[in-house]
Symmetry: C2
DNA sequence: ATTGATGCAAATGATTTGCAGCCCA
DNA sequence: TGGGCTGCAAATCATTTGCATCAAT
């Protein structure tokens, strides 16, 4: 994977924030530094970076995919009103050693486990909601 | 919520299967019994039924939303190749009594927890993959 | 009778893709 | 220098919505 300037900036911006932005939000952030970058480039790079394990693609966070520059194992909580995602200290941040044990209960080869909390973020809880 | 004929059939078909179908798959299933039903009706009803807690909307299962007619608490595994979802016996199927404990670690009001496994389904593991 | 529900078609919105030119390794 | 990468615009694909009509309560 070539390290192009746009790829560098995308990665840098994603790592700078703690906000788990959507591809489009990140596009807007990056555009401040690279006005001519296209949405397609951001989408393509996020997909590639997540395949390379350099960023994490979050699933189940509403209609828009979100990305996390922090590749350390940690748990998220997702606001059901506005969609925002935050990190949360959860008791389940443990090892994955028990994964193979449950393999044959469904016939699938188990690869991983995602735990995600759902809730209401402080902003939405105060009626400041947007989405 | 009125119990229309289409609503009844949709619910019946979803409950009949164990496949966690997408809205579109369910639309095709229902159409066998109601050729004139529209996709919009299926989408609208699934959304409404899930709001009413009569079916479960699955998140994080790829690009298409999937639904589960089984409202009992249980855990899913999601094939990263074809997107199919299956039920899995997991050690985490426990009570949610510990949820409030972690509330203030992130400022969110914690409402629930979703645990989802990722893996490769038997079909895809044998090279019979489609998606 | 009222009012929510339906079917149709068109709109939306996120994401993807074709393509010609560009630039990193 | 060559093949991956970019920007642009158009294409996809899932899902939603406006609207006139229909049907459940």
């Amino acid at each position: 994977m070539r390290m192009t300037y746009q790829r560098e900036i995308i990665l840098e911006e994603l790592r700078r924030v703690k906000s788990h932005p959507t591809a489009d939000e990140l596009y807007l952030m990056v555009r401040h530094r690279m006005p001519r970058i296209s949405r397609a480039t951001v989408y393509r790079n996020l997909e590639q970076l997540s395949e390379a394990g350099m960023v994490v693609k979050l699933m189940g966070t509403g209609n828009q995919r979100r990305y996390d520059g922090n590749t350390q194992k940690h748990t998220h909580i997702h606001c059901i009103k506005c969609g925002k995602v935050a990190d949360i200290a959860a008791p389940e941040d443990m090892d994955a050693s028990s994964l193979p044990d449950i393999q044959n209960s469904c016939g699938y080869k188990v690869l991983g486990r995602q735990i995600e909390y759902t809730g209401i973020c402080p902003d939405c809880n105060n009626g400041k909601s947007t989405a």
